[in-house]
C-alpha cells in the first residue's frame, strides 16, 4: 500500500531583462533579425574581447531584489562557470556564484485557508523564500539542421542579460508553484524589468523536485527538470516527476540526483547525462570584470524609482474608481492592462466604461486569439476615442464592437476610421422617420401581424430599418419610432 508522500519543490527562474543592449557589450537585444546579426567580438567569444557591465542590468537586478525583500550584496562579483557547449561562445558563462547581487528574500503567495505553512505572515498567505538572485548572460540558440544532420549556431541571444531567481524548497504543489511564478511575474512586470513571457522564453523555470514521506525531517534526493515553457507544462511535469520518484521509492530503488528534460508532447522526461558533462564548473572570479560596490545612495535611487505594486494599486483603485472588485483584480493582474486603464481614464474616459471595454471585449479577443494581456497593442488614446464615439451614440454598439476589433488588431484611430467609412449614426430624426415610413409601407404583412398582437413582428421591422440605414441608426430609437408610427 502506497505511503503518504509530500512533494518538495524549489524553482530556478530565469528572467530576461528588458534592456536595449546585452549585459556585457553594446549589441542590441531586439528579437528577430538575421542570425548572428546582433553580435560583436564580445558576445561571440572572439579572442581578445572583453566584457563591460551594462549598468541597467544592475539597476533591474537590484530593483527586483528590493521588491522581493532581499538583502542586497554591497560588494558583488561575477564568476565564470566553465563548461563546453556550442551555444556558449566562450565555453564559460559569466554568472555569479560566490557573491550574488541579492540574497535571503521572499514573496507571499495566496493559498487556501487552512493550508498555509508555518512561515505564513497572515492567514491565507504563504511565504516562499528566495535563496538568491544573480545576474548572468544568456546563451545563443542552437538549431537542428535535418538535411545535413548538424547543429547550427546563432549568437543573437548570446549575452542577453538574465537574472536567475533561486527559491528555497518551500513549495509543496503545482498550484503553489504557479502562484509563486504568477507573483514573480507580476512584480517583475510592474518593475518594467522584463515582460516575463513563458512562451517566448523571457521567463523560464527549472523545477527542483524531491519527495519524502509526510512527517520526515529530511529532504529526499532531488532532480532538476528543464525545458518547461508554459504553466501547463510545469504542472504536468511536477505531477509526472512526483509519480516517477514515488514509483522508484516504492519499488525500493533510489532517486538519482540528475538533470532531466521534460518532453511536453510525450508527457515524460528523460535524463540529460553524458560522460562528457562532468558537472564540475570550476567557478572562479572573472578577472576581466571588477567588483560592483553598492552604496546607500544607489539603493535609495533604485528604491525611489520603485513603482506602485499590485496590492497598493488595488487599494487605490478601490477608493478612486467606482468599479467592481473583480474588475480591479483582473485589470491589475497585468501591469500593461492597468497602464492602459489608467491612461485611458486620464484622457477623460469614465472608469466604469474603460473597465467594461477591457473586461468584456478585450478579454474576449485575447482569449480567442490565445494572447496575454501583455500583447495588447491598442493605445489608450484610441480606446478613449472609441468610448466617446459609443457614449455619444455617434455609432451604435454593434459598430463600436466591430471598430474595436479592428483597433485591437491594428490600433487604428477609431474616429478617423468611422469618419472615413461613414459609419456615424444618422442623428437626423426626420431622415430616420422617412426610412421607417418606407419600411412600414414595404412590409404590410409584418405591420398587420404587429397590429394583430404579434409583438415579435416589430423586431423584423427594426431589422429592416437598420438594414436600410446600413447600421447607422440606434436600434432603440428605431424601435420607439416604429411603435409611435404604428
Amino acid at each position: 500500500m502506497e505511503k503518504d508522500y509530500e512533494t518538495v519543490i524549489g524553482l530556478e527562474v530565469h528572467v530576461e531583462l528588458a534592456t536595449r543592449t546585452k549585459i556585457f557589450c553594446g549589441c542590441s537585444t531586439a528579437f528577430g533579425g538575421r542570425p548572428n546579426s546582433h553580435t560583436c567580438p564580445v558576445c561571440t567569444g572572439m579572442p581578445g574581447s572583453l566584457p563591460v557591465l551594462n549598468r541597467k542590468v544592475l539597476e533591474h537586478a537590484v530593483a527586483v531584489g528590493l521588491a522581493t525583500n532581499c538583502r542586497i550584496t554591497r560588494c558583488c562579483k561575477f564568476d565564470r562557470k566553465n563548461y563546453f557547449y556550442p551555444d556558449n561562445p566562450q565555453n564559460y558563462q559569466i554568472s555569479q556564484l560566490y557573491l550574488p547581487i541579492c540574497r535571503d528574500g521572499y514573496v507571499e503567495i495566496d493559498v487556501e485557508e487552512g493550508l498555509e505553512g508555518e512561515r505564513a505572515s497572515t492567514p491565507g498567505k504563504k511565504r516562499i523564500g528566495i535563496h538568491e538572485i544573480h545576474m548572468e548572460e544568456d546563451a545563443g540558440k542552437l538549431i537542428h539542421d535535418e538535411w545535413e544532420d548538424c547543429t547550427l549556431v546563432d549568437y543573437n541571444r548570446s549575452g542577453v542579460p538574465l537574472i536567475e531567481i533561486v527559491s528555497e524548497p518551500d513549495m509543496r504543489s503545482a498550484e503553489e508553484v504557479i502562484a509563486y511564478l504568477e507573483k514573480l511575474r507580476l512584480i517583475i512586470q510592474y518593475l518594467g524589468a522584463s515582460d516575463c513571457k513563458l512562451q517566448e522564453g523571457s521567463m523560464r523555470a527549472d523545477v527542483n523536485l524531491s519527495v519524502r514521506e509526510v512527517g520526515s525531517a529530511h529532504y529526499g534526493t532531488r532532480t532538476e527538470m528543464k525545458n518547461l515553457n508554459s504553466f501547463h507544462a510545469i504542472a504536468r511535469a511536477i505531477e509526472g516527476e512526483r509519480n516517477r520518484q514515488i514509483d522508484l521509492l516504492e519499488s525500493g530503488r533510489a532517486v538519482v540526483q540528475e538533470t532531466r528534460r521534460w518532453d511536453d508532447l510525450k508527457g515524460t522526461s528523460y535524463a540529460m547525462r553524458s560522460k562528457e558533462d562532468a558537472q564540475d564548473y570550476r567557478y572562479f572570479p572573472d578577472p576581466d570584470l571588477v567588483p560592483v560596490s553598492i552604496d546607500d545612495a544607489f539603493l535609495e535611487e533604485i528604491r525611489a524609482r520603485q513603482p506602485e505594486f499590485r496590492t497598493e494599486k488595488m487599494a487605490r483603485y478601490r477608493t478612486e474608481y467606482d468599479i467592481p472588485d473583480y474588475d480591479i483584480e483582473i485589470i491589475t493582474g497585468s501591469k500593461h492592462m492597468a497602464d492602459i486603464f489608467e491612461a485611458t481614464v486620464a484622457l477623460g474616459a469614465q472608469p466604469k466604461k474603460v473597465s467594461n471595454w477591457l473586461m468584456v471585449e478585450t478579454l474576449r479577443l485575447l482569449k480567442e486569439r490565445e494572447l496575454d494581456p501583455e500583447d495588447i497593442r491598442f493605445s489608450p488614446e484610441h480606446l478613449a476615442k472609441l468610448i466617446t464615439l459609443a457614449e455619444s451614440k455617434a455609432v451604435n454598439s454593434t459598430v463600436a464592437k466591430e471598430v474595436f476589433e479592428l483597433m485591437f488588431e491594428q490600433d487604428i484611430d477609431p474616429e478617423a476610421y468611422v469618419e472615413e467609412k461613414g459609419l456615424k449614426m444618422v442623428s437626423d430624426t426626420d431622415a430616420l422617420r422617412r426610412v421607417v415610413e418606407e419600411v412600414i409601407a414595404a412590409n404590410p404583412k409584418s405591420v398587420q401581424d404587429y397590429r394583430g398582437g404579434k409583438d415579435r413582428a416589430i423586431g423584423f421591422l427594426v431589422g429592416q430599418t437598420m438594414k436600410a440605414m446600413k447600421g447607422k441608426a440606434d436600434p432603440v430609437t428605431v424601435d420607439a419610432l416604429l411603435r409611435e408610427l404604428l
Partner: protein
C-alpha cells in the same frame, strides 16, 4: 642618413623635420628584414607591400599636417597576440593559424592613430606561454646577438626585431616577465606598465589579471614615448559628460565610472600619463632598495656583477642605495603558475573549432570534435598549463590551490607595499642568467619556470617595471637591469632608467 641607427623618437623627429620620410624608414627596415630575417625569424607575418602602403599613407598625412606626434611615420612591430583587423593573428599557435580578426587591439589603435606604421606580427611563445620563444608553432626566433641562443620570451620576436633593427620599436605583452626578460636577453629596453594602464581589448588573454601590454625599444625614451600613446589620453574630448553617478572609491586610482565605448573594465584611463616628461637625468636623493632575496643562489655571477655595478653607478650619482629583505620571493613562482594556469585554462576554452581557427576533421561527435581540435591545435606547453589550470580550479581543489595562491598574492603585494614606503624604486636583475642556448630549456618545464623568479612578482602585484641593458656576459650576451616601481609610479622608474642609461653611455663614451 643611416636611418637604422636612429632611435624611434629620433626617427620621428627627423620625419617631422623633413629630413627623412616614413617611406624611407620602412624601406630601410624592410631591407634589414631581407638581410637578417632568415637567420633570426623575428616575424610570423609580414606583408611588405601593405607595410609600404601604410608608410606612404602616413607620410601623406604627416605632410598634410595631420600627424605631428613623436612616433608618426615610425615603423613598428606587433606581437602576434595583439589582434590586427584584416591581418592574421596566430598567437604562434596552430590553433589560430588562419584567424583574421575583424578588430584591432585598442592599444595598437592608439599608436596607429598617432601615426606609427605596422610592419608585421612578431613571433612569440605559443599563447605567450614560455620564456624562450621556442614554444611557437612556427619555429623559434634566434637571438640577434648570438643565433645559437634564444631571444627570451614570450615576446622574443619583438625583442629580437628591435635588437636587429628589423623595426624601430615593438609591442609586447607581459604576464610574468614576457617583455622585460626578452628585452634583457636581447639588449634592448622593455617596459611593463602598472596593471590597467593600457587597454587589453584585442590582446588575446593568457592570464587576465596579470597581462599587460607594453613597449620594447632601443632607448628608455622610445619606451616612454610609446607607452604615453599606448595608455591613451583618457576619454576623448566631448564624450566624457555622459550622465553618471560616481560610485567609485579612491579618486585617481579608480576609473571614470562611465566612459562611452568602454571596452576593457580593467583599463583605468589614467590621466597621469605624461611619461616623457619624467625623462630627467637626475637620481640625487632617489631612494633605491636592492632586495637581498634577488641575489641568492641561482643567480649567475656575471649578472650579479653587472647589476651591482649599475647600482654603484646610481649611488655615485647621488641615489640612496641600500639592501633590504623583500621576503616571499620564493613563493611568487608557485603562486603565479597556479593563478596564471587557472585563468589560462578558462581563457583558452573559447578555442573550440567552432567560431574561428583550427578544427579537427573527420570527427562526427561534438565532444570528440572539441577534444581532437584542442589536442591537435595546442602545443605541449599550452596543454600542460591548461591541464594544471583545470585541475587547480576543479571541485575539491579550488580552495587548497587557487584560493591559497590568491592569498599568497595578497601577501606578496603587501610586501611590496611595505617596501615602497621606504623606497622609490626597487633594483635587481631581470633574469638569473643570460639567454640560454636553443633547446636547453624545453626538456624541463619547471626549470624554465624558475627563470621567471625576478619578474613574476611584479605581475602578481600589478607593478610597473622596466628592463634596461646594463652589461654583457663573457659570450657577449646582454644583461638587463630591472627597476620596479610602486603602482602608478612609472615616472620614478623611467627617471632612474633614463638616468642610468645616460650615465652609462657617458661612462662608455
Amino acid at each position: 642618413m643611416e636611418l637604422l641607427t636612429l632611435s624611434a623618437v629620433e626617427l620621428g623627429a627627423a620625419i617631422q623635420a623633413g629630413k627623412a620620410t616614413a617611406v624611407e624608414a620602412m624601406e630601410a627596415v624592410l631591407r634589414r628584414i631581407e638581410e637578417r630575417e632568415d637567420a633570426l625569424h623575428c616575424y610570423i607575418t609580414i606583408d611588405k607591400e601593405k607595410a609600404l602602403e601604410r608608410a606612404v599613407e602616413a607620410q601623406r598625412r604627416i605632410q598634410a599636417g595631420e600627424l605631428a606626434g613623436p612616433l608618426a611615420g615610425v615603423p613598428m612591430a606587433v606581437k602576434d597576440n595583439l589582434c590586427t583587423a584584416g591581418m592574421p593573428t596566430t598567437c604562434a599557435s596552430r590553433m589560430l593559424g588562419n584567424f583574421v580578426p575583424t578588430y584591432t587591439a585598442e592599444a595598437l589603435r592608439n599608436l596607429e592613430r598617432a601615426g606609427a606604421v605596422v610592419i608585421g606580427k612578431t613571433n612569440m611563445d605559443e599563447f605567450a606561454m614560455g620564456s624562450t620563444t621556442e614554444t611557437s608553432a612556427y619555429g623559434a626566433t634566434r637571438n640577434p646577438r648570438n643565433t645559437e641562443h634564444v631571444p627570451g620570451g614570450s615576446s622574443g620576436g619583438s625583442a629580437a626585431a628591435v635588437a636587429a633593427g628589423e623595426c624601430f620599436f615593438a609591442l609586447g605583452s607581459d604576464t610574468g616577465g614576457s617583455i622585460r626578460q626578452p628585452a634583457s636577453h636581447c639588449g634592448v629596453v622593455g617596459m611593463k606598465p602598472t596593471y590597467g594602464t593600457v587597454s587589453r581589448f584585442g590582446l588575446v588573454a593568457y592570464g587576465s589579471s596579470l597581462d599587460q601590454i607594453g613597449p620594447l625599444g632601443r632607448t628608455v625614451e622610445d619606451c616612454a614615448a610609446a607607452l604615453e600613446i599606448l595608455a591613451g589620453a583618457g576619454p576623448r574630448a566631448g564624450q566624457g559628460e555622459a550622465a553618471s553617478r560616481d560610485m567609485s572609491g579612491e579618486a585617481g586610482r579608480s576609473p571614470e565610472s562611465i566612459v562611452p565605448d568602454r571596452r576593457d573594465s580593467t583599463y583605468l584611463y589614467r590621466k597621469d600619463t605624461d611619461f616623457t616628461s619624467a625623462l630627467k637625468k637626475d637620481v640625487a636623493g632617489m631612494r633605491i632598495g636592492i632586495p637581498r632575496d634577488y641575489f641568492g643562489p641561482g643567480l649567475s655571477e656575471e649578472v650579479r656583477h653587472s647589476v651591482m655595478a649599475a647600482a654603484e653607478l646610481l649611488r655615485g650619482k647621488g641615489a640612496l642605495v641600500e639592501e633590504f629583505d623583500l621576503s616571499l620571493v620564493e613563493y611568487a613562482i608557485p603562486a603565479y603558475y597556479t593563478i596564471a594556469a587557472a585563468e589560462a585554462s578558462s581563457n583558452l576554452e573559447r578555442f573550440d573549432g567552432i567560431k574561428y581557427g583550427y578544427r579537427a576533421t573527420g570527427v562526427e561527435e561534438l565532444h570528440q570534435m572539441y577534444k581532437q581540435t584542442r589536442s591537435e591545435g595546442f602545443g605541449p606547453e599550452v596543454k600542460r598549463r591548461i591541464m594544471l589550470g583545470s585541475f587547480v580550479l576543479s571541485s575539491g581543489y579550488y580552495d587548497a590551490y587557487y584560493l591559497k595562491a590568491l592569498r599568497v598574492k595578497a601577501m606578496i603585494k603587501k610586501a611590496f607595499d611595505d617596501a615602497f614606503v621606504r623606497y622609490d624604486c626597487i633594483l635587481g636583475p631581470v633574469a638569473p642568467t643570460t639567454a640560454p642556448r636553443l633547446g636547453e630549456s624545453l626538456d624541463d618545464p619547471l626549470k624554465m619556470y624558475l627563470g621567471d623568479i625576478y619578474t613574476i612578482s611584479v605581475n602578481l602585484a600589478g607593478l610597473p617595471a622596466i628592463s634596461v641593458p646594463c652589461g654583457e656576459d663573457g659570450n657577449g650576451l646582454p644583461i638587463g637591469l630591472q627597476l620596479i616601481g610602486d603602482c602608478f609610479q612609472e615616472e620614478k622608474i623611467l627617471r632612474a632608467a633614463y638616468s642610468y642609461e645616460q650615465f652609462r653611455k657617458e661612462g662608455q663614451g
